[in-house]
Symmetry: C2
């Protein structure tokens, strides 16, 4: 009788790629990017490092698969039939919310934008952008502008969240730290930064994100 069979009888699933990815997501959600190690994963799955490598090629492979899992679920029910601008906003918001729930996804997306998770996003954005009346020459440029913006915000949110976590600060405490740092800058060299610092605490990430997206959509519309 193999160990697997015994496990199944005790109600535990046998080791599989899916279980490994699932456990990885849990580890990443609980402790951030640094929490995913083969040792922590081995312990959680009650197995050895070598067993994990049987199902997964590398840490990179694992991270990418975990990321794709989250992204695919986030994009799952966005209707293709919606008005193009609304569909683009919906995809962008789905990504925002996915990264809000799983900050490490924002970091991972930026590291491999040609791979499946980001290609899913590109397909959606590109598909709807093409329905916007953009001519062929400008289609790639418009799509990649939108994608780069989405990726930029994703990376920022991820970095901010993970730093705040590392410093054990809430959002307000983190923004206070940044505002304090900015207010200490030289007044002659950093007039804008010092002036804007006061707005930092009051700003709404999600609203700003949508406002920026609409700036690009307006730019595309005025070109088309």
């Amino acid at each position: 009788m193999t160990r697997n069979t015994r496990r199944t009888q005790r109600g535990e699933a046998s080791l599989s790629r899916e279980r490994i990815i699932e456990a990885s997501i849990a580890l990443l959600d609980e402790g951030g990017a640094t929490a995913l190690t083969f040792r922590a994963l081995s312990e959680r799955l009650a197995t050895g490092a070598g067993a994990i490598y049987w199902h997964v090629a590398s840490k990179d492979d694992l991270l990418n698969a975990a990321c794709d899992d989250v992204v695919a679920r986030g994009l799952a029910d966005i209707a293709r039939a919606a008005a193009p601008q609304d569909a683009i906003r919906a995809i962008a918001l789905a990504m925002f919310d996915a990264i809000d729930a799983h900050p490490w996804v924002g970091t991972e997306l930026g590291r491999a934008s040609w791979k499946l998770p980001m290609v899913r996003v590109m397909e959606g954005i590109g598909f709807h952008t093409s329905r916007l009346g953009v001519n062929d020459a400008a289609l790639w440029q418009a799509t990649s502008a939108l994608l780069n913006y989405i990726l930029g915000v994703a990376g920022q949110n991820a970095a901010n969240r993970q730093l705040a976590q590392a410093l054990k600060l809430e959002r307000a405490g983190f923004l206070d730290e940044v505002a304090t740092m900015w207010s200490g800058l030289d007044a002659a060299d950093y007039p804008f930064t010092r002036a804007i610092g006061a707005q930092l605490r009051a700003h709404d990430d999600r609203a700003d994100y949508l406002a920026g997206l609409d700036l690009i959509l307006r730019g595309i519309a005025s070109e088309a």
Copy 2:
């Protein structure tokens, strides 16, 4: 006679924060992000790890300082007096070129956007955006849209360059790999991605970057 004095007499500079940063930049430029280790740095500077820690707080501190060095130089001679849109384009291009020359900078910028390197960029972009006739309420949103776009492209270029390097591929070879991967996707699920793959080899990163920037600038102008 101290070791430092001897070194100075032999024409070698004594260990200092500046020399450490300089050597770090060289290491990063030559071998990418993974090439900067305290062991490699110790060897290059003919010293021990502990000596480096006397001048530098952590690897994070070191990476940030190296990044700031490159960014400060890149932004050094951009005139404040230029027309706002031109100044914004000039700053954005300076960042593009800095990351082109030092891909690791693109990764580092995204990890600490509230710190000095990114604050330099924010100050420039924000200053000129405020001269664009944007009202106070929209100023932060317009500035952060521009910054997030710039950061998104920076991260992408950095990731692509570093992956190509790791795979020992030139730009053309890398794009071929991506195009091939995309052409293998399901035709029903990925119509846009498959169609756009053909344009991938011919595209011009710098031109696309500027086109995207102009989309945002046009959106801002049509709002103001």
